[in-house]
Amino acid sequence: MLEVKDLVVAYGKVKAVKGISFSVEQGQVVSLLGTNGAGKTTTLRTISGLLRSESGEIWFEGERIDRTPAHKVVMKGLAHSPEGRKIFPRLTVEDNLRLGAFARKDTDGIARDLKRVYDLFEILYERRAQPAGTFSGGEQQMLAIGRAMMSRPRLLMLDEPSMGLSPIMMQRIMSTIRALQSEGVTILLVEQNAAAALKLSDRAYVLEVGQITLDGTGEQLLGDDRVKRAYLGED
């Protein structure tokens, strides 16, 4: 579904991503793991068109998209819930969600999806007229995910959805991701919390300073010694 080949991304002279290749298959949850500065967020931003790559190719459903502007990438069915949530704090919940559906024009479908999001996150329905900035971190994250779902993506990219959340909230987010997967949404996940991410991943890649150093299924990596030492805090 998504295929990244030899992707190189640079900020000026500094190469943040140094030729990585990976793929995401239909219906999978795929994780990118790594420490700060490994290039995970840069990779996502490049896929969604917010950054331009230096070289390499990005293919989405048989189409090359590495020169496609961001707003057209969304229309192709690829949504990006950015790092730090980036909700619109002064707009209401409902306005936020409707903006998520900006790339769509089917009013009925939007109304249906709005209901779907409200069903998934009841709290959003209860507070739909409130400015999103008054929410707690976890609620904002739900809104960010809900907003990304509003474009009815076939591939959803989530950047650090658990960042700064309480353990309970985090479980909630992880189970939401599983629920989305069961609905047939393919998910590309960037996470710092490796254990949680690996548990629900069909496949995972470990990035270190711009390069993929390890890959395998979620289970394989959970059992891998190097992963255990570096990311799971076990000896």
């Binding site: 707003h71 900006f102 024009k105 109304a111 209901k115 400015p131 008054t134």
Partner: protein, 578 residues
Amino acid sequence: MNVPTIVTPELQKRFHVPGRIAALAGGLLLAASAYLPWAYDGDALDNMAFLGGPSTLQFLGALLGLLLAVSAGMAWVEPWADRKGILPRLLMVSRRAGWTRGTKALGVGLLGFIAVVLIAIALELGGLVTIEYGGWVALAGALLGFVGSRLLTPGRAPSLEKVKTPAWLEIVSIAVLLLVALLLAAYALNQNDGGTFLSILAFIGALVAFILRVGAGGWLSAAGQRHRNVLVFSSFAVAFLFPFTQNGSDANMSIATQVLIFAATAVGLNIVVGLAGLLDLGYIAFLGAGAFTAATMSQSAFATIGWKPPFIVVMLIAGLVSATLGLIIGSPTLRVSGDYLAIVTLAFGEIFRISMSNLDGSDGPDLVHGSSGIPAIPNLNLFGFDFGKVHTVLGIPLGRFSNYFFLMLLIMALIVLVFTRLNHSRIGRGWVAIREDEKAAEAMGVNVFGLKLLAFAGGAFLAGLAGAVKAHVDQSVTPDQYIFLESAFLLAAVVLGGMGTVMGVLLGAALLKLVPEKLRFVNEYRMLIFGLLMVLMMRFRPEGMIPNQRRVLEFHSDDEELVEEIEEDLPYEFAEEH
């Protein structure tokens, strides 16, 4: 708003009965004082020197006084609502009104009105001694009413918008209100005396504050929502009727036409600033570009372009020239955000003016005759209708400026239509997203650059249209009409009135243009006064005089009443399913 409280709630609880009596008595005293002379000499304001014959201003004062007495007294009348009959049923409606809140607002407004009147008398006749005893009685009444109203507890919030009223009543109310507004505006404009004009403004201010606080504003806006087309149509009808109230005099029509041109430009700027959130400090250049384009293609002997297409075509070309300039300025700068744009547009405004001054044949092509500009632009002639002639309709002569007023009204209707269509479209939502957070908007699939450019070029196009008419209204176009100050005033109109709304900007533009025309002393100090006004607005009402609801939420996100209001407006009803 943190205004220091002198009258504490405890004080209000203890003294609300004497307070109510004082407000009632003060209102009646003021009403009675209208029959006494307020000034020693008839020269001040409208003649207020008679005993037993109130002048118009005195009459307006009496009206406010009676209103204060009635609204203060309502609390004692309302218990009768439990009896039977038609009157008690009306009283039931009155129970939904916020009479006490209205009383409090009117107490302030009334004092302001009397203060303006008395100060104006003193200034015009020379000293406080020129105020007759009636004036002091009026002041005493106003003070009594003010203090009394301060002592009242605010009481219930109005809920008049929930009253079920027949459609005809709502439509008639809208029409009557607009007609009253027209008559008041016509009356105020016909006053050549600055003090009288200002007093009428104070009267209107007090009345509007009262109406809003009583809750009739809520009812009216609900009615306006239900009959949106009626409201829009009758607003334009009333504006259309305005020239007929002037008896062929062109003095006010000239001001009104200038106000319309200014307002049309300001609404165009509001697309850029209010909707897309782009700060444009050189917007006047687009008006200028339209005016210069129209001038060079006009029938003037000084026009430099030989091609003289009909005015409709000229207007379109003027709009397109402005829009092209907008694209040229916008495409490199809109990629960067925020302050850069403000600086570039500021520079662009000056570059435009200076370039025009230099296109005089010695430094460049002689396109606009440099700083002397293009004079002697003849009046328009559209489809055989000569804009320079006086046309008599129903026995009322309509002069040159009335003709242009009608044309501007049409263009204004077009601009307002474009504005509201855009605001409520997908594009409008995209602009909101850009205004809030560009990066997030991009991730949502908003074409940030494209939409910014659209706002910029679209706004410029509308300004170009207005500029084309302005060239013919002013009869000459010179570069020094398009200085930075004008851009600043346009921006001030947008900010004062309310970013992102049409009504607000119309009001802001009208005030900013009208007040200096009518009040000579304001004209001298207008920079000072408007500057001060802007600072005060930013402190106490950053969303503008007539804000749009979303904006209010952006500035006061902790207002729970407002959240509820917006909740009621949401289109989706899932309540029963949850």
